[in-house]
């Protein structure tokens, strides 16, 4: 007996249209050559052929690069705050990769444990994720070193795998199973379909050739934390832009700014980066004035400090920080060449 379903590739548009009646459906989209997310336009499924991963990660649909938090006004009686309407709009992200779906699993606790962040949680709780198995990982991907199979995911609601002229669909969460229960184009998969998907998953895993040695990585980083000379060398070609952090699916730092026009204002939050020399300058000073301290922070936060608090490495090996970096700074080389051997 099989547990999964399938749909003809040519019927994908119909399925997306059906989902569009209930959700804002987001799909991979190209704009001026840039792979990003856009609202499904009802017809174009060409991404099936070109899509590998987006430059802007799906986190942008939970923690947008900029977001209005509230508006305020001042009069004789003091400040009046006007909160935005409750965000109830339902979205469905079609095509998220296993790395980026894992990233959301890593990031979500930050926004719900110590403090419940209504902005993030409203979006997260109103979103369904439909994963798409990677069959063409990039040469910068190293997800397998972080325990991720590029073609499998438990962090999504539905998982879709390209098996030729059909997609195999696996229900992962209850919500995901419900989502396809009523879909008319969907059929029961055969054992042969499932076998094919299994083959593809194994092949995809093998295609990821970049590796990071994560054994004892916390300890290794801790041992060489004070090695200033080492970190200076590691950081010397970095230009302290925000690309590797802002585009990282597991980076979640944000900055808060008010725009004040006469007596009315708006409070915004927007992405921030520990690579910026001005980071945390507003409340205090940036304790990491030298570039090497900032670069060290980025590496150690992901591979040492975050695991200390949450027991999981805050990197999913998506490789964006390598692909997009203007100087080709490569975190895998840094991690594989730490001076400390533990």
């Amino acid at each position: 007996m099989t547990t999964s379903q399938k749909i003809k590739k040519t019927d994908l548009g119909k399925l997306l249209n059906q989902w569009s009646q209930e959700f804002t459906v987001l799909v991979p989209w190209r704009e001026n050559g840039l792979a990003t997310w856009a609202k499904w336009n009802g017809t174009d499924t060409s991404f099936i052929d070109w899509y590998r991963n987006t430059v802007v990660p799906a986190k942008a649909h939970f923690l947008p690069s900029q977001e209005e938090m509230f508006r305020f006004q001042k009069d004789e009686k003091g400040y009046h705050i006007e909160l935005p309407d409750a965000d109830e709009h339902k979205q469905l992200i079609f095509g998220i990769r296993p790395c980026d779906a894992r990233a959301l699993t890593i990031v979500s606790p930050i926004f719900e444990e110590l403090y419940e962040d209504p902005y993030y949680l409203a979006k997260r709780n109103n979103t369904l994720l439909v994963g798409l198995a990677c069959t063409r990982p990039c040469d910068s991907c190293f997800c397998t070193s972080l325990g991720i199979n590029p073609a499998e995911s438990i962090d999504v609601d539905l998982m879709v795998t390209d098996i030729g002229d059909q997609f195999l669909i696996e229900g992962i969460s209850e919500a995901g199973k419900e989502l396809i229960a009523g879909a008319s184009e969907v059929k029961e998969a055969t054992e042969a379909d499932e076998a094919k998907a299994k083959e593809i998953k194994e092949a995809s895993y093998q295609k990821v050739t970049r590796k990071v040695d994560t054994d004892n990585i916390k300890e290794k980083l801790s041992v060489c934390f004070e090695d200033e000379e080492h970190w200076e060398k590691v950081a010397d070609n970095c230009i302290s832009c925000g690309i590797c952090t802002l585009l990282c699916p597991t980076c979640f730092c944000f900055d808060i700014n008010d725009e004040l026009v006469k007596k009315q204002g708006t409070r915004f939050r927007s992405w921030d980066s520990c690579a910026f020399s001005i980071y945390t300058k507003m409340p205090m000073e940036n304790p990491r004035e030298e570039k090497w301290r900032r670069v060290r922070q980025k590496v150690c936060h992901k591979f040492e400090f975050h695991p200390m608090s949450y027991d999981i490495i805050a990197c999913v090996g998506c490789g964006r920080c390598i692909r997009q970096c203007p100087v080709n700074w490569d975190i895998t080389q840094v991690l594989n060449n730490l001076p400390a051997k533990v």
Binding site: E31, G33, V55, S65, C138, L246, N257, F268, S270, D330
Partner: protein, 319 residues
């Protein structure tokens, strides 16, 4: 190029050995296909890693303002002009740099290669340059393209392939052969638009900006210790990536680099969300030339354009 590379390694080693410089800044192979990464070193053994190829994209002069001591630096034509401009602005002392110049043939724009081949860069097996043709190998096939189709726009219009200022030149000087039409393709499109269309165009482009500031940080002309976007009193522009603020940021940045921008193309190349920034910077470059007959970084003894004025030419409000 192999010969040039060997000579570079020899010269760099000699500079370090003879104590003429404290650092060498050049390029070494990157970790991805068809990439290089800046090599900044004090160690003479490292010079063996120095390379010269059509992928040496970074304008290394951006590192000069952060290093202490004497530096031997590898430059292309446009980069050398950035150094000259930094000298004009008293940011770099001429005697503190040993400029190792490459007579430049232009660099290959991988985005264009992806466009003409329909393949992503990591799916290509080889890119080889012969004369005025570039051969790309992929999927067991070979395709040949005229260089004009795959070089960076700014390289196509380069006015100064031989470094303007150098101490060592790794080869014969190359005459300039700018192809303005090819290099202005994107600008041409904008010139042909009505102002409303242009407004919509930039609104759309700047909606994608994430304020990573890579455009500013890769730019040697953006040398301010504290950028105006980081000022909060007064707040010239919000550090929030709304398209309006993004546009203002870029407009002001272009005014600040007017007369310093050498059309090295780094800002556009670095932008992770493909905003055609050169359509602004190159336009400013042209305006500076039209209005002041000034080209950045051509003469280290010339007074810098924006920080200098003559009493007789000053507007009333400045006197």
């Amino acid at each position: 190029m192999k010969e040039m590379e060997q000579r570079l390694q020899k010269e760099a080693r000699a500079l370090l050995e003879q104590g003429k410089v404290d650092y060498i800044i050049g390029f070494e192979p990157g970790s991805l296909k068809f990439t290089t990464t800046p090599l900044i070193t004090k160690d003479k053994e490292d010079v063996e890693r120095l390379v010269i190829n059509p992928f040496i994209v970074n304008n290394l002069s951006v590192f000069l303002t952060e290093l202490q001591g004497r530096v031997g630096i590898v430059v292309k034509g446009c980069d050398s002009r950035s150094i000259v401009s930094l000298i004009q602005d008293n940011k770099v002392v001429r005697e503190d740099v040993v400029i190792i110049g490459i007579p430049c043939t232009g660099l290959i724009d991988l985005s264009k290669v992806e466009l003409v081949t329909g393949k992503d860069r990591d799916e290509l097996d080889d890119i080889a340059w012969q004369g005025d043709k570039i051969t790309v190998r992929f999927d067991g096939e070979e395709k040949v393209f005229p260089t004009e189709e795959v070089l960076f726009d700014n390289c196509l219009g380069c006015e100064c392939p031989t470094p303007q200022e150098y101490d060592i030149l790794l080869g014969e000087p190359r005459p300039a052969a700018p192809n303005l039409t090819a290099s202005r393709k994107n600008l041409e499109k904008l010139d042909g638009m009505s102002s409303e269309e242009r407004w919509d165009f930039w609104k759309n482009e700047f909606s994608r900006c994430i304020r990573c500031y890579a455009c500013r940080n890769v730019c040697p002309a953006c040398f301010c210790k504290r950028c105006f976007v980081e000022e909060s009193e007064p707040q010239w522009v919000l550090p929030v990536p709304r398209w309006q603020d993004n546009l203002i940021f870029q407009v002001i940045r272009n005014i600040h680099v007017a007369g310093r921008c050498t059309d090295c193309g780094e800002c556009e190349r670095a932008c992770p969300v493909n905003i055609p920034l050169r359509s602004l910077s190159k336009r400013m470059y042209e305006l500076v030339d039209e209005l002041f007959q000034f080209k950045a970084g051509m003469d280290k003894d010339a007074v810098p354009l924006m920080t200098h004025y003559e009493l007789e030419e000053a507007e009333d409000f400045i006197r």
